[in-house]
């Protein structure tokens, strides 16, 4: 359901999941209206940093009214967020973008793919599709993994690591190719651009529907500034050029519709 406000959130908990990866649970009004694949803008308090930081929603707890963000410390803003403690206030712009089409994929063989810090939003998808035929492919750099055990509560899990220390050596596509018996109807994915390009190609070659979540430098988060666009195959209905707004029309797109 559409919800768009500045929420005065309250930190419920924060924990470090692995090197530079944190899990932050915030109580906020928008939590109960969020869907998996949407994101929020978190405002740093420091005046050194003015813009909100777009962070994908890992999962929400509608009963508790909480939003969980699992993020990587990448700069000044996220560094500040990693110091937030229980009870602290945090301003967030909720909820942004459109999520994954979870209702359309029920009853199908669903593959979720997450690479690195693209893994967290897929957890919310796995959770909402619990009981469906869901296979989660999680790609990490090495054995310093996060969230993989939580995925096991909702889906079958296949691990790949770049250094081969756990699971299949390589990326999520290598792991998927190793599962010769698996015939997915749909892939939903989030991760670095080279991985998403490979997924788009893999899906095309195997005639699989694919939805991918994109990322770009963002300013307003609400579709006004046109900072975060992505090239599109056809003319976009809003822009009337071959560019679409990741924050507003995305971040989740049908892989066939975007030129990545």
């Amino acid at each position: 359901m559409f919800y768009r406000k500045i929420d005065e959130g309250k930190v419920i908990s924060q924990e470090r999941l692995s090197e530079g990866i944190f899990s932050l649970v915030i109580k906020n009004e928008g939590a109960k209206f969020a869907s998996p694949g949407q994101f929020v803008g978190v405002y740093p308090k420091s005046k050194d940093t003015l813009l909100m930081r777009p962070i994908s929603i890992c999962e929400t707890d509608t009963a508790e009214g909480t939003t969980r963000l699992v993020y990587r410390v990448a700069g000044k803003g996220t560094s500040e967020f990693s110091t937030l403690n229980e009870g602290d206030k945090v301003k967030i712009l909720a909820n942004l973008g459109n999520g994954f089409p979870v209702d359309e994929v029920k009853g199908k063989c669903i593959v979720l793919m997450g690479g690195g810090i693209g893994i967290p939003p897929m957890l919310g998808v796995a959770k909402i599709l619990k009981g469906e035929d869901v296979h989660s492919f999680l790609g990490y750099r090495n054995r310093d993994m996060f969230l993989s055990e939580e995925f096991m509560q909702y889906s079958k899990v296949y691990i790949s690591t770049e250094d081969g220390s756990v699971g299949v050596k390589g990326n999520v596509i290598d792991a998927a190719k190793a599962c010769t018996g698996l015939k997915p109807d749909v892939i939903m994915a989030c991760g670095p651009m080279p991985m998403l390009r490979a997924i788009k190609q893999y899906a095309k070659d195997n005639n699989i529907q694919a939805y991918i979540s994109l990322e770009e430098r963002m300013a307003c988060g609400v579709g006004a500034c046109l900072g975060c666009v992505c090239k599109t195959v056809a003319k976009d209905h809003h822009s009337h050029v071959n560019n679409t707004r990741i924050c507003t029309e995305g971040p989740v797109f049908d892989a066939e519709e975007v030129d990545i």
Binding site: R4, C220, H240, V241
Partner: protein, 299 residues
């Protein structure tokens, strides 16, 4: 308490406008703010045909502000007339359309198409630093600025505001050229050309290499330029550059601006325009200013 200001015969309920490019055509921010409370909505720049804009990354945060190199992506004037202007017509606010182009003919075509709409004024963008052709090329030489102003003025059925670039040696020369060619008002400043380098990747952060800087850090430069132009010309000035609060806006008014525009602040705080409207009124109450016009150019 009077907050009304008049520019080129157009009356604004208050001096607070949106800065072009930071507010779309009002639709996106209407979910946060009441557009009826704005003096005017100034739209994102529009050209005769749709423009793709620049490659990404298009935006970057810098200390005290941001850089952007959107490159004036826009759906073209026909879409604006069919979609955006009817939306804005539902609100009790003035509408100023920002017009951009690669050639003088582009500007003229856009202005002519808008002439029969209910738009109140045009703001002519001759100062965007992010496109290679047109735009800033018209705004960095006084002769060029005079010529384009003169040609637009001859076809325009609405008052025009020439938007000036700060990326010049002497902005008052540009202000004088715009005035001499018949511009009804001027607005300033557009963004200041900047650059950011990613030292880890040894690359420019923006795909365009350079971008226009906006945000609170540029405010003192903007206030100074508004003051200089106010001394140099008689036509009204719309001041902008780093306005975050009502106090910031009052500074611009005192420097000589008849109205102000809120830009990057919208990204930092979606309610920024309302905060500025409220902040100006609060200043007027606490300082016993009964008419906003009393403080325009008072320093």
């Amino acid at each position: 308490m009077n907050t009304k200001v008049t520019i080129a015969g157009v009356e604004f309920k208050n001096p607070v406008m949106t800065a072009s490019g930071t507010f779309g055509s009002g639709m996106e921010y209407s979910q946060f703010v009441d557009l009826n409370r704005l003096g005017a909505v100034v739209t994102k720049g529009v050209s005769n045909i749709p423009w793709e804009g620049n490659p990404t990354p298009r935006v970057a945060e810098v200390y005290g502000g941001m850089l952007n190199a959107i490159g004036l992506q826009n759906p073209g004037v026909d879409v604006m007339i069919e979609r955006d202007l009817p939306f804005l017509a539902k609100y009790d606010t003035k509408v100023i359309v920002n017009v951009c182009g690669k050639s003088v003919e582009d500007y003229l075509e856009t202005v002519e198409k808008l002439n029969d709409t209910a738009v109140d004024m045009y703001e002519i963008n001759v100062s965007c630093p992010n496109v290679k052709e047109g735009a800033i090329a018209f705004g960095q030489k006084a002769d060029n600025l005079y010529n384009i102003t003169d040609r637009i003025k001859k076809v325009s059925k609405k008052p025009i505001i020439m938007k000036l670039s700060p990326n010049v040696t002497d902005i008052t020369e540009m202000a004088k050229a715009a005035e001499a060619a018949g511009s009804d008002a001027i607005s300033l400043i557009n963004t200041i050309t900047g650059m950011k380098i990613d030292i880890e990747r040894r690359r420019f952060v923006l795909a365009n290499k350079t971008g226009g800087m906006s945000g609170p850090a540029i405010k003192p430069v903007a206030v100074r330029m508004v003051y200089q132009c106010a001394k140099a010309v008689k036509i009204p000035i719309i001041g902008m550059g780093g306005i975050m609060t009502g106090e910031d806006a009052v500074e611009f008014l005192m420097a000589g601006a008849s109205a102000v525009a809120v830009g990057a602040a919208n990204f930092i705080n979606p309610y920024a325009t309302m905060d500025v409207v409220d902040g100006i009124e609060k200043y007027m109450r606490t300082h016993n200013v009964s008419d906003i016009n009393e403080i325009i150019g008072c320093v």
